[in-house]
């Protein structure tokens, strides 16, 4: 078990810089999830830690040890690959014991560790099979088993569930969460799926365009996104954004655009006095779909936003209501209870729950505190 430190790490492929001055500290036994869209550099960061990519600049430490120039085998890590990467010409047992045999560990000890891992992952009946005789989910378990038997200091998972179907993905997600509790080891997990990130992580690092956008506990990243990218990336359905301007009114601060006039002072989105100073600045209002209430035909209250229902999608226990807001016709999605009865074409008014409002600078995309 060990901590991991990235210190001012940069990665270039030829002239193309894909990671820019990344610094990140991961504590011992922490479950850190690197999440971001495809091509953001999250897998490259993991592969640099594994030693599969060279580090162009900066330092990577595992525990106290600088590992920049160590080959993968000397880094005491284990990695689970997106495509499982099981050796096709070996049985499950041979796949799992491959690393131990290379180390020259006593055969009795190898068998003990393989059986223990197989027991944890419920794959004992598969030990004599070859990878081609396994289903996708079984292969993934074997790949995880191969990592467990090595008893590494750090586990690396590179999008391990992205090739599984939805049901299996959910099952394996729970298995991985249990595994972390059982093994109490440092885990670094790469995914583009923000649901995986939210459910598994002790901390999330959101990566975009080769930079870390925000690091924090899932509730913190969800509740106080640092910028428009994080706000849009974390949360499902995604946050609504309305562009407008901040204005001072009656001692408070309001967000205004054509047809929208919402008080924003006092909520978690912004507080005096710093927000008051920003009167007149162009801003982006972020509203979580769950923070929108639809009022049908009631007299509009203060801050109510007139809107028109475009499409209603029933998801079973919830409904997604797609709306057109304001004179500019900004698209807004509200996630409401299944009993909500609005119809396409209906004129309604929307109330925003202050706890689900977020304000960002339009120019930089940064959160307004």
């Amino acid at each position: 078990m060990a901590s991991v430190t990235f210190k001012n790490v940069t990665k270039k492929f030829g002239l193309n810089e894909v990671l820019h001055d990344v610094s990140l500290q991961i504590a011992d036994q922490e479950f850190l999830v690197l999440v971001g869209p495809s091509g953001c550099g999250k897998s490259t960061l993991l592969r640099m830690l594994a030693g599969l990519e060279e580090t162009t600049e900066g330092e990577i430490h595992i525990g106290d040890r600088l590992v920049n120039h160590l080959p993968p085998r000397s880094r005491e890590i284990a990695m689970v690959f997106q495509d499982y990467a099981l050796y096709p010409h070996m049985t499950v047992a041979e796949n799992m014991s491959f690393g131990l045999r290379l180390k020259g560990i006593d055969l009795g000890e190898i068998d003990r560790r393989v059986l223990k891992a197989a027991n944890i992952l419920h794959i004992e009946p598969l030990l004599r099979r070859t990878p081609r005789q396994l289903s996708g989910g079984q292969r993934q378990r074997v790949a995880i088993g191969r990592a467990i038997v090595r008893e590494p200091k750090v586990f690396l998972f590179d999008e391990p569930l992205s090739n599984l179907d939805a049901k299996l993905r959910e099952e394996m997600r729970i298995e991985i969460a249990k595994l972390h509790q059982k093994l109490a080891t440092t885990i670094i997990y790469v995914t583009h799926d923000q649901v995986e990130a939210m459910t598994l992580a002790s901390r999330i690092a959101v990566v975009n365009a080769g930079q870390i956008q925000q690091v924090g506990a899932p509730t913190e990243v969800f509740g106080r996104p640092e910028n428009v990218f994080v706000a849009g990336f974390i949360g499902s359905p995604t946050m609504n954004f309305i562009e407008g301007e901040l204005a001072r009114a009656g001692g408070g601060l309001r967000f205004k655009t054509a047809g929208v006039d919402v008080p924003v002072m006092g909520g978690p989105a912004g507080g005096p006095p710093s927000s008051l100073d920003r009167s007149g600045t162009p801003a982006v209002l972020g509203v979580r779909p769950e923070a929108i209430h639809i009022d049908r035909g009631d007299a509009p209250a203060d801050g109510a936003v007139p809107a028109e229902v475009e499409v209603v999608e029933l998801l079973g226990y919830r409904k997604n209501v797609h709306l057109k807001v304001g004179a500019a016709g900004a698209k807004v999605l509200a996630s409401v209870g299944a009993a909500e009865g609005s119809e396409p074409g209906e004129k309604v008014s929307l109330r925003f729950d202050p706890a689900g409002l977020h304000l960002f600078e339009k120019a930089t995309g940064r959160r307004i505190r």
Binding site: R73, D83, A85, Y87, P88, F98, L102, R132, L134, R139
Partner: protein, 293 residues
Amino acid sequence: MTESGASLESLRALRLHRRREALKTALIHGALILACAACVYPLLRILAVSLRPGDRIISTDLALIPQGATWASYVKVFTETNFLFWLWNSLVITVATSVAGVALASTAAYAFSRFKFPGAKLGLSLLLGTQMLPAGMLLLPLFLMIMRLRLMNTYLGMVIAYSVSSLPFSIWILKGYYDTIPRSLEEAALVDGTSVFGAFYRIVLPLSTPALAIAFLFNFTQAWNEYLVARVILTDSFKYTWTLGLFDLQGQYLTQWGMFAAASLLVTIPVMGVFLYSSKWLLTGMTLGGVKG
């Protein structure tokens, strides 16, 4: 049209389709049988000649086993010529060539497949280019090279000459195969504790048996059947390969066709053996199931 009319129509169409398919199959099989006959016929004629008494190559007899068939030509091949010497020389040179050729090609192809280095693309194109030159053109440079290395009339000289000429083809075959093996397998092996060579040796090589078998067979048949280079490098009749030896049976005035035919048939046995044995390695699909799918 009524429903039953429509279904009658479709049944008729189906019957017609079946008939057409049957005719197509019959034609394909007929063509294949003809091709097989064309391949087997010369072999059967040689068998007939080898069993014929005397040294007659031309005969009006079409029988597969000629009248008065005798093993005499086979006995004479072993007792009156250096056939066993030639066979031994050929075998040593061919096996050594095949092993050296595959060893060199498998590592060179891996470098071309996995590493970026200056001149990689040019190197591959040049390798392909050498295959376009007629064999006769390479004869003189090969002769000069082997002579300057003082390897005339040696096994080593022959092995070098043969393996270098088969290398480009083997490298291309193997590189193409390596390219289909997912890199993540080697990366998993690196994380598991192998070196780069270890990942190649323990993971990539065992998965490449079909391509290795093809490269081995190619080297084997090339070296086993080669005549021209051997003629230039080997002058000592005790170092002759069977191709040179066999040619010696053809005299200016008299050719011992019976012995020639018998020896020709005997030398096909090792090649056939190697083909039959290696066919099990030619099975593809070893990498299936190792990665997602």
